[in-house]
Amino acid sequence: MTDAERVAAARAGDKRALARLVTAVEDPRPAAAPRRAAILAALADRPLGRVVGLTGAPGVGKSTLVGALAQALLSAGETRVAVLAIDPSSPVTGGALLGDRTRVRFAGAEERLYFRSQASGAISGGVARATHHVCRLLARLFSTVVVETVGVGQGEIEIVRIADTTWLVLQPHGGDAVQFMKAGVMELPDGFVVSKGDLGAAAGATAAALTSALGLIAPGAAPRPVIVTSAVTGLGVAELAAAIAAGPRGRLLAKEPGLFERWVLDEHGAAGLRRLRTLAPTTAAYLAACGGLEAAQLAFAGADR
């Protein structure tokens, strides 16, 4: 089957073809970039769906929440929902154990859902390098793409660079909120979820404390939602789905300049960034001039040599 045939099949809902395309766009090797560009170009006529990031410390209940959330999004009227769940790779063996499917219970016959696991590779920040590429593909085929990040340490919320909206999941009495505040990243999420709401009053108390703390961080700013959920009882999940569905979508392309700068920084360092400034007035202009992300990466790397 050619990629063109796979794209046609994936448009028609064929998950096998889609899965092969995901593998293709994930390929990190420079030689794979033209193939990725071609696949994405073949889907450029489709509107961009919404990319939602779900992040938080390990063990706060992200995976369990994702399962309930995906169902709730469909019930809230989303036509097709994809989940991309990222798990850490072993630094020693390179292998990964991707266990999130066990927490997510989709009926096998639910054709409107697609679930994909991704190993984080060696990249920090809770997001694999290939995450962006997979989002570029999935957002063309799904109305909402939920990205569940690796349980991050409290210093980084890398997913905000990709997602239209990012939700930080906290657990009752976890003390996470304080750590995130210390790290200065509480400004980044668009909303907050306090999980394990079935544990009783603790979740409500944590949510209240969080709401008042957020008021202190950004006084006068529009209040950001804080939703108490329980994947066990279903508490708050529909509310979260509604909040997500009411939020922005389709900004993935607008975020490409930022991601390109990040790529330049990773691959070519601060000197690379300075050089980028000399090549075009804005990064967006550079991308446009080169004809897209892959072409820009190729051009930039070529100019470097």
Binding site: A19, R29, T93, G95, A96, L98, T102, R105, G108
Partner: protein, 675 residues
């Protein structure tokens, strides 16, 4: 059949003149049940006819996991490893002609233990038998289900509530019933050493009693009686001297613990009461007739010492490693017990080992080790914290790995497996049936027809009302026994009872032992395995993706977990799909994840049906090209059929060398993952 219940095991029997003659024997049981209530009833009546003195009921996996026989996930498993029970109507058939008031009935049931007890009580009520006369045991040890066996339904806190409530109900209403068996049995099957077995079991018992005490629903005297009813279900392995010492250590520690921790003064309530199923782990597929001797020796370990003699014994059949036993195999196992109890002079003496310094020292060593193990777990915050921290699971995996290493290296001789492997063919397996039992597929239809009949005849209004009352009681935190009995009487089905409570408690989907589990292959072999994958990584620019899952309801997750963890160690990206999956769930996972290989583990005997369904589902979803390997207890006779279905490799208990398994898996993807 006896007109009176048999005397309590260990009770001194007397002659006509009142002089003591010998001890009453332990209860003879045979773990049995399959196909349908009708077929199983015939089995039980035959067993009792032949001199069995108690029943031991094996339930099928749907019943254990809270599904009715007609649920889609249940269908391949109905009647496979035990009897399907859908409603009280099935219990009437199962116990037809068996007087409950004279029976001692053991039910191996955990996730749905309260439901099966409710059915038993409801049956007694409809028959007019006073509840107080019911004697028997429900296994009801949910902790080891999370650890090793996998037939849990609800999250731990809710499951443990149900266990506590059965105690609170039974303590006054069914005073001679054992509301749970703390099972160290499955720990040994999962690799536990004697010290771990005793230590972990005591920690589980402490957790349960502490929980009941903390709930404060019963008074001090009733609590003491709960302590007295807590019983154990223990394993007995081939090292029978050590096993006997283990039982003596168990009894000593229990006496000590119930006195010091719970202040129980009455020595009768501190008695260590236990039933046994001897070791299945050590039974071999090779030269299976040798298992008859192993079973005999293992029975000695739990009967020789009067002080630590079991209350009930069930022996596996010699061919258990091959299949479920046939009636004759079970009769042969029962005869062993009868000879031991009635022909020999074993029951005529007081304890044979008191004062023996070798036994005393060994017992002391096990007791000391187990005490330290118990203290360690209590220091971690108790058994639940220890499970969540992965402490027990990791300890078990380590012990199991060491055991396998000893067998592989030949340091631990296993006759017919790593020593004296050449032998004459056994006439026992030469019969027309190959020495194995095959279940009757028509019996399943019988079970389904009975379920339809129950649904047709019952009063739907009463069903809805009793289920609503159950849900309300569950929400309010009331004891659920009486509402469950009301459901039973209204002909609520097993699936409906469990589903109603799932709605309140939620459903627990554990990653079981995978989270935080580590498994170390020897470095040089792991390095060789990783090197084997490098060609793949170079060709594809990524790591190979392996989907691992368990189709069907069998929850013995160790095998799948060990493979998942070992494969990661060897450099695979492993997508662990979990347990209790419909074959189609695995096909969906494999297709969506673009798997390079699928590994499924099946121990329930349903491998042919489940594999056929998996292959069909893969084909339907466009994943027919993804290679599949199967691990589990697969009789040799089934290998050609699995190959025919398209399975690329089958790993059985004979393939205990993990590195070799992983090497074979790497070979399979050598050229199969097209770009």
């Amino acid at each position: 059949m006896a007109t009176e219940p048999p005397p309590e095991p260990g009770f001194q029997l007397t002659d006509a003149g009142g002089a003591p003659t010998r001890d009453a024997p332990w209860i003879f049981r045979t773990y049995a049940g399959h196909s349908s209530p009708r077929a199983s009833n015939a089995l039980y009546r035959d067993g009792l006819e032949r001199g069995q003195t108690g029943l031991s009921i094996a339930f099928d996996l749907p019943t254990q996991c809270g599904y009715s026989s007609d649920a889609p996930i249940a269908r391949p498993e109905v009647g496979k490893v035990g009897v399907p029970i859908n409603s009280l109507d099935d219990f009437h058939v199962l116990f037809d002609g068996i007087p409950l008031e004279r029976m001692n009935t053991s039910m191996t049931i955990n996730g749905t233990a309260m439901w099966l007890l409710a059915l038993y009580v409801a049956l007694a009520r409809e028959r007019g038998v006073p509840e107080a006369r019911l004697r028997g045991t429900i296994q009801n040890d949910i902790v080891k289900e999370y650890l090793a066996r996998g037939t849990y339904i609800f999250p731990p806190a809710h499951s443990l509530r149900l266990v506590a409530e059965t105690y609170e109900y039974c303590v006054d209403r069914l005073p001679e019933w054992n509301p749970s068996n703390v099972c160290s049995y499955h720990l040994q099957e999962a690799g536990a050493t004697p010290v771990q077995e005793v230590g972990f079991a005591l920690a589980t018992a402490v957790d349960l009693l502490d929980r009941i005490a903390a709930r404060g629903r019963i008074d001090r005297a009733a609590f003491a009686r709960c302590v007295g009813r807590l019983s154990f279900f223990v394993n007995s392995g081939i090292r029978f001297v050590e096993e006997m010492c283990k039982m003596r250590a168990f009894a000593e520690l229990w006496d000590e613990l119930t006195r010091s921790r719970y202040g129980i003064d009455d020595p009768k309530l501190r008695l260590f009461r236990y039933g046994v199923q001897v070791n299945s782990l050590g039974l071999t597929e090779a030269q299976p007739e040798n298992n008859a001797w192993r079973i005999l020796i293992e029975a000695l370990g739990v009967t020789l010492s009067r002080k630590a003699r079991c209350r009930a014994l069930q022996l596996p059949a010699w061919n258990e490693a091959l299949s479920l036993p046939r009636p004759w195999d079970q009769q042969w196992a029962l005869r062993l017990q009868q000879i031991l109890a009635y022909e020999t002079d074993l029951l005529e003496y007081p304890d044979l080992f008191d004062g023996n310094p070798v036994i005393a020292a060994k017992t002391q060593a096990i007791a000391d080790g187990a005490r330290a193990e118990l203290e360690q777990i209590l220091a971690m915050g108790g058994v639940q914290a220890a499970i969540e921290a992965g402490y027990m699971k990791q300890a078990l995996v380590r012990s199991m790995t060491e055991r396998i290493t000893r067998i592989t290296s030949g340091a631990q001789p296993v006759v017919g497996v790593n020593r004296w492997t050449d032998g004459l063919a056994s006439p026992l397996t030469a019969g027309g049936d190959g020495g194995v039992f095959t279940s009757d597929p028509a019996a399943v239809e019988q079970a389904l027809a009975a379920l339809d009949e129950t649904r047709r005849r019952r009063d739907p209004g009463q069903v809805a009302a009793t289920l609503a009352a159950l849900v309300l009681a569950a929400r309010r935190g009331d004891n659920l026994m009486e509402p469950s009995i009301a459901c039973a009487l209204a002909r609520v089905t097993t699936g409906e009872w469990a589903e109603a409570l799932r709605g309140v408690f939620g459903e627990y989907r554990a990653v079981t032992g995978v989270d935080g589990q580590r498994l170390d292959l020897p470095d040089e072999r792991a390095a060789a395995l990783r090197a084997q994958l490098e060609a793949f990584v170079a060709a594809h620019g990524r790591r190979p993706r392996l989907v691992v899952g368990k189709p069907g309801l069998d929850g013995h997750s160790n095998g799948a977990e060990v493979i998942a963890v070992a494969a990661r160690h060897a450099g695979w990206d492993v997508i662990y799909a979990g347990i209790r999956l419909a074959p189609d769930d695995i096909a969906v996972s494999a297709v969506e994840e673009d798997a390079d290989l699928i590994g499924v583990s099946i121990l329930s005997g349903s491998h042919l049906e489940l594999t056929a369904q998996l292959m069909a589902a893969l084909a339907a979803r466009g994943g027919a090209d993804i290679p599949v390997v199967v691990g589990g207890i697969v009789p040799k006779a089934d290998l050609p059929r699995l190959t025919e279905l398209g399975v690329r490799a089958v790993f059985t208990p004979a393939d205990f060398d993990l590195a070799a398994v992983l090497a074979r898996m790497a070979e399979l993807i050598g050229g199969s993952a097209a770009a």
